[in-house]
Symmetry: none
Subunit: 203 residues, 4 copies
């Protein structure tokens, strides 16, 4: 009885968050309705609001969870590893995220595009700290002559941009590729290694 959350409660919360992720990622915050989420979750609307006090609460819960997963791969960069391998590992981790959790990626993108009203604290705090750590690692590698001297911040931005693009702009990709590339992320993975470590100039 000391346990506030029963297992059932936790399960229902998961079901609701799953449904909410789907609906929010397809329609944005304002475009999503509790009716839709409740329908997907298979619950009644009031019952859903028994588990989460408001639409806002569902959304922010979703966002904060998302951020944890978001940040993880950056932690995993090993300063004592090989720069090329470590960066490719990070790129692949991000691509894998785009493949497995495109909805999360889109939800995050929508939130940023809308000005990140519910996320700016997290961006300026934990995210910035983590990026700064990575930047220090990159700079060390550059000083050691193991990595080309480029702007480390923008390097991170370019990784984010290119990898998340496969989730966020998949509709556009599919429209442009038609049937030409049945598995863009795999192709993209090879392409990105070429781009990041060979560049476009022919040898």
């Amino acid at each position: 009885m000391a346990n506030k959350d029963t297992r059932i409660q936790r399960e229902k919360r998961e079901i609701i968050l799953d449904a909410a992720l789907q609906v929010f990622s397809e329609n944005g915050f304002r475009g999503a309705t509790l009716d839709q989420i409740a329908a997907v979750a298979g619950l009644s609307k009031p019952n859903m609001l028994y588990y989460f006090s408001s639409k806002e609460a569902i959304y922010t819960t979703l966002l904060s969870r998302l951020l944890e997963t978001w940040l993880q791969p950056l932690y995993d960069i090993d300063p004592s590893g090989d720069p090329h391998k470590e960066i490719m590992r990070y790129i692949c981790a991000k691509l894998e995220f785009s493949r497995k959790f495109p909805r999360q990626s889109r939800l995050f993108a929508i939130e940023i595009l809308n000005g990140a009203p519910r996320l700016s604290d997290e961006l300026e705090g934990p995210l910035k700290d983590l990026v700064d750590r990575s930047v220090r690692i990159f700079r060390q590698w550059m000083n050691e002559g193991r990595l080309a001297k480029v702007d480390p911040y923008h390097l991170i931005f370019s990784i984010w941009a290119t990898t998340q693009h496969y989730a966020d702009f998949s509709v556009q990709m599919r429209a442009v590729l038609g049937d030409e590339d049945p598995d863009p992320i795999t192709t993209g993975s090879k392409f990105l290694e070429d781009l990041f470590f060979k560049g476009l100039d022919p040898r």
Copy 2:
């Protein structure tokens, strides 16, 4: 004199589209309200609907205009030019677009993220055609040994991703950069030349 649109009509329409761009790009289609747009435009809501028949009409007008500007720089790639210079020119044009029209970029991104319900025809038609043209140019350059052999489609995607990122994710960039980089797009421009034409491996 045979012009159906009076000057005042054209002016008001521009004012409305300007206001709509601001509001839509911050909130998406569903998130934006005609009240907001009317307030920004300094018009009454019914008066606004005198110039555009519906919310939808405002939005689609905005989108179709946007697409024209969007496609232009791709046209400008010159098959007989120098690959490095042509690609950098395209990258810079896209960056310039992100600098000057970040709201348009975000509007476009939001539309794609929402599944491009009002844009899929344009994507599968004119955009695809134009991309295919560019791909042919790139492939020719590759065959001539003037450009590294990478997947041309994904090359375009990566340019889009990295350049638009400066507009679409500017909130996140600013949060991460703090005061460190007062002009990220200029820095980004240099970084992207490094990335695309030198790669990350040290020489």
Copy 3:
């Protein structure tokens, strides 16, 4: 200059009333819009309101004109004529009205059905007086043994009901008759003589 209405003004007013009759008779007062009427009349909305001060004004003008035409045939009943012929002449006049002016008939019907808010004075005044006159004629004929003794008021009601039905319920008639009767009013004319002067009992 003493003449307030120029010929042009009178003509435009006619055009507007014509258009209004069409629109009002198809949609009722609330269902009709000034835009529709203006479109049918080929005028701009404000210009229309230059000739009639309001929607209400158009409608009431239409109604009061209508009533004049409406009452006329009742005046024409000749006390010194033959009852059978006079009544049939009235019935035919009403049927002719249904054939030539179905929209007027429907407009009138709609107004009555809506409780005749703009017509009750006319009904209780001029119309009642005229009906009373006809009732006196009918009663005289009955006293003279030239007409069967039936309730004279309800006789008039039954004539109105049966003749106007051909205009007001023509949609229903056409649905029920299908292609069976291409000219219901002619058939109806014969039928009504049978009904009113032979009855349904076989001889």
Copy 4:
């Protein structure tokens, strides 16, 4: 217990339909507002829309219910009965309907007058079939010499016209009759028997 509708739902639906009948029959579809209906029903507008999804839904529910009651008496005509009695029974049933449900009658009339946009299928289907059945009965009676040979379709029209007139045009009747006839439908009932079975010619 398998019933999907709770008692309270059925009750509220009835209350709403009652209120809607009143408002629609006085103003037609376009003339009626949900605010009016909600006020009469004693509900809030959104709560009303909890029971019926739209204004249209309320109206069509009303119409389809109406049609059932509308058609019933025609079914009851007994081919093996006495023509005079059967027809008078039908006339009286229709008059009774006009007495007890004048609003339904007016609602139906308004719908027809507006071109029956929501009813034409029903008119061309079930109603036509039922009329055709009655026509066959009438023709048989005529062939057997038990009914005067008149157009059977128009006979039905004349019954509809004269009986529904007592509901649809009651405002006009009351205006014309003044205090002369406190119970027009009773008087009308006698008159109609005279009209239909004696005719106007004196014997």
